[in-house]
Protein backbone atom coordinates (compact mmCIF):
# COMPACT_ATOMS: atom_id res chain seq x y z
CA UNK A 1 0.00 0.00 0.00
CA UNK A 2 1.21 3.59 -0.57
CA UNK A 3 3.01 5.24 2.32
CA UNK A 4 0.88 8.27 3.36
CA UNK A 5 3.14 9.18 6.26
CA UNK A 6 6.74 10.34 6.44
CA UNK A 7 8.83 7.62 8.00
CA UNK A 8 11.26 10.04 9.65
CA UNK A 9 8.42 11.74 11.57
CA UNK A 10 7.14 8.39 12.85
CA UNK A 11 10.67 7.38 13.85
CA UNK A 12 11.07 10.67 15.72
CA UNK A 13 7.76 10.14 17.50
CA UNK A 14 8.85 6.67 18.50
CA UNK A 15 12.19 8.07 19.70
CA UNK A 16 10.28 10.45 21.97
CA UNK A 17 8.78 7.39 23.70
CA UNK A 18 12.23 5.89 24.21
CA UNK A 19 11.22 2.90 22.11
CA UNK A 20 8.24 2.05 24.31
CA UNK A 21 5.97 0.26 21.79
CA UNK A 22 2.86 0.33 23.98
CA UNK A 23 3.22 4.06 24.52
CA UNK A 24 3.86 4.63 20.81
CA UNK A 25 0.67 2.77 19.95
CA UNK A 26 -1.17 4.81 22.56
CA UNK A 27 0.05 8.04 20.95
CA UNK A 28 -1.04 6.88 17.51
CA UNK A 29 -4.46 6.05 18.97
CA UNK A 30 -4.57 9.55 20.46
CA UNK A 31 -3.92 10.95 16.99
CA UNK A 32 -6.85 8.95 15.58
CA UNK A 33 -9.21 10.17 18.30
CA UNK A 34 -8.08 13.80 18.28
CA UNK A 35 -7.98 14.09 14.48
CA UNK A 36 -11.68 13.21 14.24
CA UNK A 37 -12.39 15.73 16.96
CA UNK A 38 -10.53 18.50 15.14
CA UNK A 39 -12.18 17.64 11.82
CA UNK A 40 -15.53 17.92 13.58
CA UNK A 41 -14.52 21.33 14.90
CA UNK A 42 -13.46 22.43 11.39
CA UNK A 43 -16.83 21.39 9.99
CA UNK A 44 -18.78 23.02 12.81
CA UNK A 45 -16.76 26.25 12.98
CA UNK A 46 -18.89 29.35 12.54
CA UNK A 47 -16.11 31.88 12.96
CA UNK A 48 -12.60 32.38 11.67
CA UNK A 49 -10.99 32.11 15.12
CA UNK A 50 -12.43 28.67 15.81
CA UNK A 51 -11.59 27.57 12.28
CA UNK A 52 -7.97 28.75 12.62
CA UNK A 53 -7.53 27.07 15.99
CA UNK A 54 -8.92 23.71 14.82
CA UNK A 55 -6.80 23.87 11.65
CA UNK A 56 -3.76 24.67 13.82
CA UNK A 57 -4.35 21.72 16.13
CA UNK A 58 -4.91 19.25 13.29
CA UNK A 59 -1.82 20.63 11.52
CA UNK A 60 0.27 20.07 14.64
CA UNK A 61 -0.84 16.47 15.04
CA UNK A 62 -0.52 15.79 11.32
CA UNK A 63 3.10 16.99 11.42
CA UNK A 64 3.77 14.76 14.42
CA UNK A 65 2.77 11.62 12.51
CA UNK A 66 4.34 12.78 9.25
CA UNK A 67 1.10 13.46 7.36
CA UNK A 68 2.74 16.29 5.44
CA UNK A 69 0.07 16.92 2.82
CA UNK A 70 -2.66 17.05 5.45
CA UNK A 71 -0.48 19.39 7.51
CA UNK A 72 0.10 21.65 4.50
CA UNK A 73 -3.64 22.00 3.80
CA UNK A 74 -4.33 22.72 7.47
CA UNK A 75 -1.52 25.29 7.56
CA UNK A 76 -2.94 27.12 4.53
CA UNK A 77 -6.46 27.10 5.96
CA UNK A 78 -5.18 28.35 9.33
CA UNK A 79 -3.30 31.23 7.66
CA UNK A 80 -6.30 32.21 5.53
CA UNK A 81 -8.65 31.97 8.52
CA UNK A 82 -6.38 34.28 10.49
CA UNK A 83 -6.46 36.69 7.55
CA UNK A 84 -10.27 36.40 7.43
CA UNK A 85 -10.20 34.85 3.99
CA UNK A 86 -12.36 31.71 4.38
CA UNK A 87 -15.03 32.12 1.75
CA UNK A 88 -14.22 28.69 0.31
CA UNK A 89 -14.13 27.06 3.74
CA UNK A 90 -16.42 24.10 3.00
CA UNK A 91 -14.59 22.53 0.03
CA UNK A 92 -11.27 23.07 1.78
CA UNK A 93 -12.46 21.40 4.98
CA UNK A 94 -13.76 18.48 2.92
CA UNK A 95 -10.40 18.24 1.15
CA UNK A 96 -8.78 18.08 4.56
CA UNK A 97 -11.29 15.36 5.54
CA UNK A 98 -10.25 13.31 2.51
CA UNK A 99 -6.57 13.74 3.32
CA UNK A 100 -7.26 12.77 6.91
CA UNK A 101 -8.76 9.49 5.69
CA UNK A 102 -5.49 8.73 3.93
CA UNK A 103 -3.45 9.73 6.97
CA UNK A 104 -5.70 7.64 9.24
CA UNK A 105 -5.11 4.56 7.12
CA UNK A 106 -1.38 5.09 7.44
CA UNK A 107 -1.57 5.57 11.19
CA UNK A 108 -3.76 2.48 11.61
CA UNK A 109 -1.32 0.52 9.46
CA UNK A 110 1.58 1.70 11.62
CA UNK A 111 -0.11 1.10 14.99
CA UNK A 112 -1.19 -2.42 13.98
CA UNK A 113 2.28 -3.27 12.71
CA UNK A 114 3.81 -2.12 16.02
CA UNK A 115 1.07 -3.62 18.18
CA UNK A 116 2.05 -7.03 16.83
CA UNK A 117 -1.13 -7.89 15.02
CA UNK A 118 0.33 -7.21 11.59
CA UNK A 119 -0.42 -4.19 9.39
CA UNK A 120 -4.09 -5.05 9.15
CA UNK A 121 -4.51 -5.66 12.83
CA UNK A 122 -5.00 -9.41 12.31
Amino acid sequence: MPEPLERTALDELRAMTGGDAALYVELLDTFLTDADLYLGELRAATDAVTLARAAHSLKSNAMTVGATELAAHCRALEADARAGDVADREPRVEAIGALLLVARSGVVHERNAVAGGGPDGA
Binding site: A15, T17, D20, A22, L23, E26, D34, S57, K59, T64
Partner: protein, 247 residues
Amino acid sequence: MRLPVVAPMAPDGGGGRVLVVDDGEMNRRVLHAALAREGHETQEAANGREALELLAHESFDVVLLDLVMPEMDGFETLAAIKANDAHRHLPVIVISGIDELDAAVRCIEMGATDYLPKPFNASLLRARVNASLAGKRLRDLELEYLEQVQHVIAAAGALEAGTFEPASLEAVGARDDALGVLARTFARMASEVRAREDRLRAEVAELRIEIDEARQARRVEEITSSDYFRELRDRASDLRRIVASDD
Protein backbone atom coordinates in the same frame (compact mmCIF):
# COMPACT_ATOMS: atom_id res chain seq x y z
CA MET B 1 -4.88 4.63 30.43
CA ARG B 2 -1.93 5.99 32.41
CA LEU B 3 1.34 6.71 30.72
CA PRO B 4 4.14 4.48 31.97
CA VAL B 5 7.21 6.20 33.34
CA VAL B 6 10.23 4.52 31.78
CA ALA B 7 13.47 4.23 33.77
CA PRO B 8 14.63 7.79 34.38
CA MET B 9 17.90 9.14 33.03
CA ALA B 10 18.27 12.19 35.22
CA PRO B 11 20.54 14.96 33.95
CA ASP B 12 23.24 16.44 36.18
CA GLY B 13 21.60 17.89 39.26
CA GLY B 14 18.58 15.56 39.00
CA GLY B 15 15.26 15.96 37.30
CA GLY B 16 13.19 19.09 37.40
CA ARG B 17 9.50 19.91 37.65
CA VAL B 18 8.21 20.84 34.22
CA LEU B 19 4.85 22.44 33.51
CA VAL B 20 3.62 21.40 30.06
CA VAL B 21 1.03 23.83 28.67
CA ASP B 22 -0.61 22.66 25.45
CA ASP B 23 -4.23 22.25 24.41
CA GLY B 24 -3.34 19.18 22.32
CA GLU B 25 -3.54 15.96 24.29
CA MET B 26 -1.18 14.24 21.89
CA ASN B 27 1.49 16.91 22.38
CA ARG B 28 1.11 16.76 26.16
CA ARG B 29 1.43 12.97 26.12
CA VAL B 30 4.49 13.02 23.86
CA LEU B 31 6.20 15.64 26.02
CA HIS B 32 5.28 13.88 29.25
CA ALA B 33 6.73 10.60 27.96
CA ALA B 34 9.98 12.13 26.76
CA LEU B 35 10.47 14.24 29.92
CA ALA B 36 9.68 11.33 32.25
CA ARG B 37 12.39 9.32 30.51
CA GLU B 38 14.83 12.11 31.36
CA GLY B 39 13.91 11.93 35.04
CA HIS B 40 11.68 15.02 35.05
CA GLU B 41 8.34 15.29 36.75
CA THR B 42 5.57 16.91 34.70
CA GLN B 43 2.29 18.63 35.34
CA GLU B 44 -0.04 19.41 32.47
CA ALA B 45 -2.30 22.33 31.64
CA ALA B 46 -4.58 22.60 28.60
CA ASN B 47 -4.50 26.41 28.40
CA GLY B 48 -2.90 29.48 29.92
CA ARG B 49 -5.52 29.93 32.61
CA GLU B 50 -4.95 26.41 33.95
CA ALA B 51 -1.20 27.01 33.79
CA LEU B 52 -1.39 30.22 35.85
CA GLU B 53 -3.58 28.43 38.39
CA LEU B 54 -0.98 25.67 38.77
CA LEU B 55 1.85 28.22 38.98
CA ALA B 56 0.05 30.01 41.79
CA HIS B 57 0.01 26.89 43.96
CA GLU B 58 2.97 24.77 42.90
CA SER B 59 6.64 25.24 42.23
CA PHE B 60 8.13 24.53 38.80
CA ASP B 61 11.59 24.70 37.27
CA VAL B 62 10.64 25.10 33.60
CA VAL B 63 7.48 25.85 31.61
CA LEU B 64 6.91 24.42 28.13
CA LEU B 65 4.33 26.73 26.60
CA ASP B 66 2.32 26.22 23.41
CA LEU B 67 1.28 29.42 21.65
CA VAL B 68 -2.08 28.70 20.03
CA MET B 69 -4.53 27.65 22.73
CA PRO B 70 -8.16 28.38 23.59
CA GLU B 71 -9.18 30.62 26.54
CA MET B 72 -5.73 32.07 27.16
CA ASP B 73 -3.05 31.71 24.49
CA GLY B 74 0.69 31.41 24.91
CA PHE B 75 1.38 35.13 24.43
CA GLU B 76 -1.05 36.19 27.15
CA THR B 77 0.24 33.45 29.44
CA LEU B 78 3.85 34.44 28.88
CA ALA B 79 3.01 38.10 29.54
CA ALA B 80 1.25 37.14 32.80
CA ILE B 81 4.21 35.01 33.93
CA LYS B 82 6.70 37.79 33.21
CA ALA B 83 4.52 40.37 34.96
CA ASN B 84 4.51 38.33 38.17
CA ASP B 85 7.49 38.96 40.48
CA ALA B 86 7.32 35.41 41.81
CA HIS B 87 7.60 33.87 38.33
CA ARG B 88 9.46 36.50 36.36
CA HIS B 89 12.67 34.45 36.26
CA LEU B 90 11.04 31.07 35.61
CA PRO B 91 12.42 29.70 32.31
CA VAL B 92 9.71 29.49 29.65
CA ILE B 93 10.33 27.51 26.47
CA VAL B 94 7.70 28.28 23.85
CA ILE B 95 6.48 25.49 21.60
CA SER B 96 6.02 26.60 18.01
CA GLY B 97 5.56 25.04 14.62
CA ILE B 98 8.36 25.41 12.13
CA ASP B 99 6.08 27.89 10.31
CA GLU B 100 5.69 30.04 13.43
CA LEU B 101 9.24 31.28 13.90
CA ASP B 102 8.13 34.93 13.94
CA ALA B 103 5.89 34.14 16.89
CA ALA B 104 8.74 32.37 18.67
CA VAL B 105 11.00 35.39 18.12
CA ARG B 106 8.29 37.67 19.53
CA CYS B 107 8.05 35.43 22.61
CA ILE B 108 11.80 35.51 23.16
CA GLU B 109 11.61 39.31 22.97
CA MET B 110 8.89 39.10 25.64
CA GLY B 111 11.22 37.14 27.92
CA ALA B 112 10.90 33.49 26.86
CA THR B 113 14.12 31.55 27.37
CA ASP B 114 14.02 29.52 24.18
CA TYR B 115 11.70 27.82 21.71
CA LEU B 116 11.04 24.22 20.82
CA PRO B 117 9.93 23.47 17.26
CA LYS B 118 7.11 21.07 16.43
CA PRO B 119 7.20 18.22 15.54
CA PHE B 120 9.29 17.46 18.59
CA ASN B 121 12.80 16.12 18.48
CA ALA B 122 13.90 14.14 21.54
CA SER B 123 17.51 15.42 21.51
CA LEU B 124 16.46 19.05 21.09
CA LEU B 125 13.87 18.74 23.84
CA ARG B 126 16.46 17.23 26.20
CA ALA B 127 19.06 19.90 25.39
CA ARG B 128 16.69 22.85 25.76
CA VAL B 129 15.01 21.67 28.94
CA ASN B 130 18.32 20.76 30.57
CA ALA B 131 19.91 24.08 29.56
CA SER B 132 16.95 25.96 31.05
CA LEU B 133 17.13 23.85 34.19
CA ALA B 134 20.85 24.52 34.54
CA GLY B 135 20.21 28.27 34.16
CA LYS B 136 17.45 28.18 36.75
CA ARG B 137 19.59 26.22 39.21
CA LEU B 138 22.47 28.65 38.80
CA ARG B 139 20.13 31.55 39.49
CA ASP B 140 18.64 29.74 42.51
CA LEU B 141 22.18 29.21 43.84
CA GLU B 142 23.02 32.89 43.35
CA LEU B 143 19.86 33.93 45.17
CA GLU B 144 20.60 31.53 48.03
CA TYR B 145 24.18 32.87 48.21
CA LEU B 146 22.99 36.48 48.37
CA GLU B 147 20.44 35.56 51.03
CA GLN B 148 23.16 33.95 53.14
CA VAL B 149 25.44 36.96 52.68
CA GLN B 150 22.55 38.97 54.12
CA HIS B 151 22.56 36.66 57.18
CA VAL B 152 26.25 37.47 57.80
CA ILE B 153 25.58 41.21 57.40
CA ALA B 154 22.64 40.95 59.82
CA ALA B 155 24.86 39.03 62.26
CA ALA B 156 27.41 41.88 62.19
CA GLY B 157 24.62 44.34 63.03
CA ALA B 158 23.38 42.09 65.82
CA LEU B 159 26.90 41.83 67.24
CA GLU B 160 27.16 45.60 67.43
CA ALA B 161 23.73 45.79 69.06
CA GLY B 162 24.72 43.07 71.53
CA THR B 163 21.99 40.71 70.33
CA PHE B 164 24.06 38.30 68.27
CA GLU B 165 23.13 34.62 68.55
CA PRO B 166 25.68 32.15 67.11
CA ALA B 167 22.83 29.85 65.99
CA SER B 168 21.78 32.50 63.47
CA LEU B 169 24.87 31.66 61.39
CA GLU B 170 24.70 27.86 61.65
CA ALA B 171 23.21 27.38 58.17
CA VAL B 172 25.73 29.69 56.49
CA GLY B 173 28.57 28.14 58.48
CA ALA B 174 27.65 24.71 57.11
CA ARG B 175 28.65 25.82 53.59
CA ASP B 176 31.92 24.41 52.33
CA ASP B 177 32.91 27.57 50.44
CA ALA B 178 34.54 30.91 51.34
CA LEU B 179 31.25 32.28 52.70
CA GLY B 180 31.02 29.29 55.03
CA VAL B 181 34.58 29.96 56.25
CA LEU B 182 33.71 33.62 56.80
CA ALA B 183 30.57 32.72 58.77
CA ARG B 184 32.39 30.16 60.92
CA THR B 185 35.26 32.59 61.61
CA PHE B 186 32.81 35.37 62.43
CA ALA B 187 30.82 33.13 64.79
CA ARG B 188 34.00 31.87 66.51
CA MET B 189 35.41 35.38 66.97
CA ALA B 190 32.05 36.66 68.20
CA SER B 191 31.93 33.79 70.71
CA GLU B 192 35.47 34.61 71.86
CA VAL B 193 34.59 38.27 72.28
CA ARG B 194 31.48 37.32 74.23
CA ALA B 195 33.47 34.91 76.47
CA ARG B 196 36.05 37.65 77.13
CA GLU B 197 33.29 40.09 78.00
CA ASP B 198 31.69 37.54 80.33
CA ARG B 199 35.06 36.98 82.06
CA LEU B 200 35.62 40.71 82.46
CA ARG B 201 32.12 41.14 83.83
CA ALA B 202 32.74 38.38 86.40
CA GLU B 203 36.06 39.96 87.40
CA VAL B 204 34.44 43.37 87.80
CA ALA B 205 31.71 41.83 89.96
CA GLU B 206 34.36 40.13 92.12
CA LEU B 207 36.25 43.42 92.50
CA ARG B 208 33.05 45.13 93.53
CA ILE B 209 32.50 42.55 96.26
CA GLU B 210 36.07 43.04 97.53
CA ILE B 211 35.65 46.80 97.50
CA ASP B 212 32.37 46.49 99.40
CA GLU B 213 33.99 44.16 101.95
CA ALA B 214 36.94 46.53 102.48
CA ARG B 215 34.57 49.44 102.82
CA GLN B 216 32.57 47.54 105.39
CA ALA B 217 35.71 46.57 107.32
CA ARG B 218 36.82 50.16 107.37
CA ARG B 219 33.43 51.21 108.68
CA VAL B 220 33.60 48.57 111.41
CA GLU B 221 37.09 49.77 112.26
CA GLU B 222 35.88 53.37 112.44
CA ILE B 223 33.05 52.41 114.77
CA THR B 224 35.04 50.07 117.03
CA SER B 225 37.92 52.51 117.44
CA SER B 226 35.66 55.41 118.50
CA ASP B 227 35.50 56.68 122.15
CA TYR B 228 31.80 56.18 122.18
CA PHE B 229 32.20 52.49 121.22
CA ARG B 230 34.86 52.01 123.89
CA GLU B 231 32.60 53.63 126.49
CA LEU B 232 29.71 51.39 125.51
CA ARG B 233 31.97 48.32 125.65
CA ASP B 234 33.18 49.31 129.20
CA ARG B 235 29.58 49.82 130.33
CA ALA B 236 28.65 46.44 128.95
CA SER B 237 31.54 44.85 130.90
CA ASP B 238 30.40 46.58 134.08
CA LEU B 239 26.86 45.37 133.61
CA ARG B 240 28.06 41.78 132.99
CA ARG B 241 30.11 41.97 136.26
CA ILE B 242 27.09 43.28 138.29
CA VAL B 243 24.87 40.58 136.92
CA ALA B 244 27.50 37.95 137.72
CA SER B 245 27.92 39.23 141.37
CA ASP B 246 24.13 39.22 141.92
CA ASP B 247 24.04 35.58 140.95
